[in-house]
Symmetry: D2
């Protein structure tokens, strides 16, 4: 992942309850930071998440896979920058690639999540709408459309 | 609160992600421990919580108040004992009194929570059912029925 | 508590992992929001929390008491305003009073926390430094100095 | 992963604060469940985690990588079974493979974590002790020793 490939970023400050007894952010907490990045990424397109868990453009997604490589620990009160992009779209699923750096440009971790679009009623996977694909194509420079 | 007044107790082990940078359980985490105690207290009556948030005897409650006094810090891997009782019932609300001790009988904290019974549809307070009151009366030695 | 008595406020957005199965912010999460408010309150004085858990003016505090009254539930994606003040100081302890409202001015909850100043080495309570008391006196309109 | 390959398992009950607004366990929470499994796995060898974050056999590890495939959602009050094994050891790192099933044998998720042994003082990777390798060899049927 190259840092310059990311068009979207947010800042998150590390809080007392994010730290574990080793004095560093607990490994599970980064999945929360990544999710905040994903939701703010969608907000930058103009969409927000509703009480139902659905976004207000009708998209209902679940997380099918997450992976994280932890590079350097983050500490209390650090301001972290979460960078987010969609790297590929494939029928009913798509992939978030993300990287978290601190304000000294140290890479804290990078992560990858695969999300699946569900029919809100049957809860079964269904193809992503054309509108979604076009919006991501306009926003991302290197989007891969997988068959 | 006297320790011998509690008829119900459960054990909870302190986990890595419960600890903060001071090496002790974070103050917000005790509210989670107290809630586990409250749900297991109800399970000891034969009831469990459903996907809707309602218990399977029809009870739908929300937390109206919580307070905690922190006495002594708990540490990683400690086995804590959460003791729970209902101290009073009043029309549509009731009060959990709880105490958490460690396995050396050190008092870690004591807490108090007031819960309110809701009509599951209107979400407005409604009187607690007679069945609930009688069950608590049978279980608790010093239950106070407030007017 | 009167809303106009608070000189300090921050915004916090409710996140997916803050919500429970009733679709509302879990009762324990508000203690996290209140703690963020308290740390940002101190940051507005120019102080920040260090890896040791101590603030960079030397203050080492622990939470001795927390209480919350829950008034109205907060929901996903709500932007909450956490208002914080110190209402009294007494020898080695002081009291945060806080209120959380949403962007429609609905009161979500109000909370109160008592913190105790510790000697960083002995971990025993010790009188709050004069500097701290004077800074709070300058910032708060209605500070009570308890004997 | 074959379920019968796991010699170690623990039970975890899903709690109210583990659930998100979709009524299912939040994706980040499974990393907590996996970590509980890993610590209890080590306890089954006779070791426990200390206040320092070190285990009482001297092992100091950090998480270098985590990945999870989410198969089926878990719900409130579910009793989950977390199965844990070490699948390979390599100089200073080793790999936990884990699977979580519910009490109807539905696979909820499977996960993989790579941990790195650190010198407790320099915090730099160092070879895993022979004692650790021999203990795992005795416990696991299909341990791979990587070069």
């Amino acid at each position: 992942m190259k840092i310059q490939d990311f068009n979207h970023q947010i800042e998150i400050r590390v809080r007392t309850f994010d730290i574990d007894m080793q004095g560093i952010v607990h490994n599970s907490v980064y999945l929360k930071y990544l999710e905040i990045g994903r939701i703010e990424y969608r907000r930058s397109y103009g969409y927000k998440i509703l009480k139902s868990g659905q976004f207000n453009d009708g998209l209902t997604v679940i997380v099918a896979h997450n992976s994280i490589d932890y590079n350097s620990p983050a500490h209390i009160d650090d301001v972290l920058i979460v960078k987010t992009k969609i790297s590929w779209i494939k029928n009913s699923s798509f992939c978030f690639e993300q990287i978290i750096v601190n304000d000294k440009d140290t890479v804290i971790c990078d992560g990858m999540g695969i999300l699946v679009n569900l029919n809100p009623e049957t809860k079964m996977p269904e193809p992503l709408p054309e509108k979604f694909i076009h919006e991501v194509q306009r926003y991302e420079n290197n989007l891969e459309l997988k068959k």
